[in-house]
Assembly symmetry: C2
Homo-oligomer: 553 residues x 2
């Protein structure tokens, strides 16, 4: 069997000017990065006045079995093109740190991939590197301000702005800096996050244009003074420099699928501590250019899906026309209690139990008033009986399920799914937001927990309750909430698979992200700097004298 | 008066395909990065069999007055083109950290600049970011290996491989990492260097091709075992992954001067702890394509110049045909004892004293058997008498001096200089290396100190002497030496301007760089992570809604 990179390397890749033309871009709207990548800048009103149909791909709670959400997203876009619908796909950019750590790509798989796969997974067009630069420039300016007499009275013990690197490096989670004597700064505790966890990443993907980005950057709260007043980037005076560093990163990147479907890949915020979807600019641009835009949200429907519908949709000014929930028989069996080693054998009992996870997501997604469709991403070990069980289960929620066999067949493996999506997208939908913009933070969280997670309620820690009282004084208490919760469970306990009931969500603390414009709601701990495994993927990656890469996935 | 960036923004910039064509590149030999930058890959034997003439631009010891070596390099290339000689310029890439710190560009100035100036000074084509990624991936793999049972018995107290960021950040010079308990690594002391100080930067600029680079990366010594045996990247097994991360960074970058002279800008190693010149690949490629290649070496002739002639030349397989030594009246007056505030007034006494600095460099450069020419980079405050003094002084060394007025006039300000360079380049030269490859390290250092610096001799610290005995056992004692010395003085005392005599150079320690293939000879301390000033340049940089940047320089 061919590996993903072998399939990608053997593919027919069109020159990027041909993809740009196919996408409907004028020559002034794109600039090349190599022969098969481009950055694009499209005016919000330059193309179609009626936006295309938006298809959101989300999933059940992820398991170690793998769900293949990106693969289905790419395959569905190819399938829509295959049935004659002019379609683009809009994805997030992969983070380099995990590429060197754990195998497993973010560019789809098998015959449903975006290419050039290796470049996209390595440095791509440098967006993440620009974010790393801007992030660490701000960090250096903060410590320099403290060192140079601390005119802003920044309390070094109350800094929120850490440093960032796009590397899986657990040794950088907790560090002390500024050691080495009086000429090397002021000693203090600090830490590094992986670049995708930076607030600048969230901002980049939310900004409509350079000035919107600069205004957001100015509002970032980097810490507090000795009087516990917030200090912002505006106070430091470097929003212009940071925006300058991100002037190209703000432009969406154009590539193609293996079937030459134009693909916009831009931004990569986490789906727990941030909004978890590609950029507003990329999505808007794609909607202007294509009749159908297929996009995905990170993790399951409870995290990325909810954030797309409650947070991104108002900013985008456009709700999804269809929601596709991806599930696999394997993953559902894990939700039903099977260990990963037992997934290749049919087990209708485990599947029946695990389907409850799908059920909760179908219940929560259908409430938004948008057509919902299930995509069963096929694995070779799936039996017809198991697939029929999923289809029957979905029907009980009024939802049709279709098999997607895109890993092995590309778009041809999802023709039925594509037809169903195209048909559903024509239905005029009545989008029903989950909460009102001026609901209190706690009200917003309760609605999410009860309606989306199927939980019983919310418990605030003393710290979180105290923070909310402070936030009310600062006018931050009506901000949208971004739930940071384990992706593996509907609850805040990663071990509770399936569809747990009667659980409470425990809010440990809030992290205000004033630049991005939301409050992160921390339930449990979220690791913002991964580590490498005992056998990192980097051990297996190699390149030959002709530049041919092996072992990337 | 217009600023550098205003001049650059107003310039007529040709599309990069036109520059590629002018340079003689076939379409398969380059790929675009935006509309005005490209990466190129040229086979070593694809073009002219007879290489072009190589012009090395170096200078007196730098002073805060500024010498404008890059400006003269660019202006001279434009002037050579102006008098009908097909010329390319080959420069180093600027480092982003200092761009956010101190004003002052590395892309020339005034009407002798390379463009797009802002892009080149910001992220350019991502080479430095790729180096940062590769450097920190290796660091993460090292700490992960220690964390995962330490199979290589690495002594965490004897690690040589620090972490790297392209940011001026003094707070990262000395840090402790791995804090936070058993799941966050093994606590140890560490530090960050600025990316240009990474051995990977030296390697990138020395490598002939991918396999040469991989072999060099394998040889990097990252530290020692508990038994004090060296541990290499080969032992860690990630040379393939690191080379993969640098697969595009190894390709030279093509841009243009304001006069549309093709320019290759590639690599940026320090001139003290590394070789201080652009890449071997870029220089070789330019020599294949053009009749004249003008390149520069970092800092003064004692540092970058010496390293170019003694270290780079054998690797390049080609010595310079002409050496141009840049001086300014202002800087010479500082070498003569004037403070920076007094430089605008004529002072023949100070100039006469300061000329001794030029004298030492002319003496050392002429010994290589290659024609030497002085370029006096004109400032508006220079008097005709002062310039005449410099010309007369140079003549005593058998060297002609010419005024270069390229900041104000571009290539038109250096026609005479260009004609003299072109004429000198036709003289068959008899290159005389300073030392033999199999001289002992101490012999090499002594020859550099006595002949190039005009010093009395060398003193080794106890540590350095002990290291040399160890190196002899490992077979490292015949490696080329790379002197890490203050750039401001011929001696190792930055305060000794002019031409100090009877001084000794004190070798504190050696740093073996087995991947790059040299021993760094540390005299005094060299700061490998700069700090930001009290008013960083980042405070003044801004961008408007049309993407127009201000305050970059």
């Amino acid at each position: 069997m061919q590996t993903d990179i072998e399939i990608a390397q053997a593919a027919e890749v069109w020159p990027i000017e041909k993809i740009a033309e196919k996408a409907g871009l004028t020559p002034a709207e794109w600039e090349p990065y190599g022969r098969d990548k481009a950055k694009i800048s499209v005016d919000e009103t330059a193309h179609k006045s009626e936006l295309g149909k938006l298809v959101l791909v989300t999933s059940i709670n992820p398991t170690p079995a793998g769900e293949g959400k990106s693969t289905v997203t790419v395959g569905l876009a190819d399938a829509l093109n295959g049935i004659g619908q002019q379609t683009m796909v809009a994805l997030r950019e992969p983070s380099l740190g995990p590429v060197m750590g754990l195998k497993g790509g973010a560019t789809g798989g098998g015959y449903a991939q975006v290419v050039p796969m290796a470049d996209i997974n390595l440095h791509f067009t440098g967006d993440f590197h620009a974010l790393t630069s801007a992030h660490n420039t701000l960090a250096a300016v903060i410590d320099n301000s403290i060192y140079q007499g601390n005119p802003l009275h920044i309390d070094p013990r109350r800094l929120l702005w850490k440093r960032a690197l796009d590397v899986n490096d657990r040794a950088l989670r907790h560090v002390t800096i500024g050691l080495g004597g009086p000429t090397s700064g002021v000693p203090r505790e600090d830490g590094f996050d992986i670049t995708v966890a930076s607030e600048l990443m969230a901002i980049l993907t939310l900004s409509h244009d350079l000035m919107d980005m600069k205004a957001r950057i100015e509002r970032i709260v980097i810490g507090y003074t000795y009087d516990k007043e917030p200090v912002t980037v505006k106070d430091l005076g470097v929003a212009g420099a940071l925006t300058t560093l991100l002037k190209d990163a703000i432009k969406p990147n154009l590539v193609q699928t293996l079937a030459q479907t134009p693909a916009l890949i831009h931004g990569g915020p986490f789906a727990n501590i941030a909004q978890g979807t590609n950029s507003i600019r990329a999505t808007k641009t794609a909607l202007q250019l294509a009749d159908y835009v297929v996009t995905e949200a990170g993790f399951g429907a409870d995290l990325g899906g909810e954030k797309f519908l409650d947070f991104k949709t108002p900013l985008l000014g456009k709700h999804p026309d269809v929601i596709v929930v991806v599930a696999t028989v394997r993953a559902l069996k894990m939700h039903g209690g099977l260990p990963k080693t037992a997934l290749t054998e049919p087990d209708e009992q485990a599947l029946a139990t695990g389907l409850a996870n799908l059920g909760q997501h179908l219940q929560s997604m259908t409430r938004y008033g948008v057509p919902v469709i299930v995509a069963v991403n096929r694995f070779v070990t799936d039996t017809p009986e198991e697939i029929a069980m999923v289809e029957a289960y979905a029907r009980d929620f009024g939802v049709q399920a279709y098999v997607a066999d895109v890993w092995a067949k590309g778009g041809a493996g999802a023709t039925e799914l594509a037809s169903a999506v195209a048909e559903a997208a024509q239905v005029a939908s009545d989008f029903k937001p989950l909460y009102e913009a001026d609901d209190d933070a706690v009200v917003k969280i309760e609605k999410i927990v009860q309606t989306i997670y199927g939980g019983a309620g919310v418990e605030l820690s003393d710290k979180a309750a105290k923070q909310l009282r402070e936030f009310a004084k600062r006018g931050w208490d009506k901000l949208p909430v971004i739930m940071a919760k384990t992706q593996y469970s509907l609850s805040d306990d990663a071990k509770k698979l399936g569809a747990p009931k009667d659980f409470k969500i425990h809010v440990r603390e809030f992290i205000p992200k004033l630049g991005a414009g939301f409050l992160v709601v921390m339930t449990g701990t979220v690791l913002t700097m991964p580590g490498l495994p005992s056998h990192p993927a980097a051990y297996d990656i190699d390149i030959d004298e002709n530049g041919r890469i092996t072992g990337l996935f």
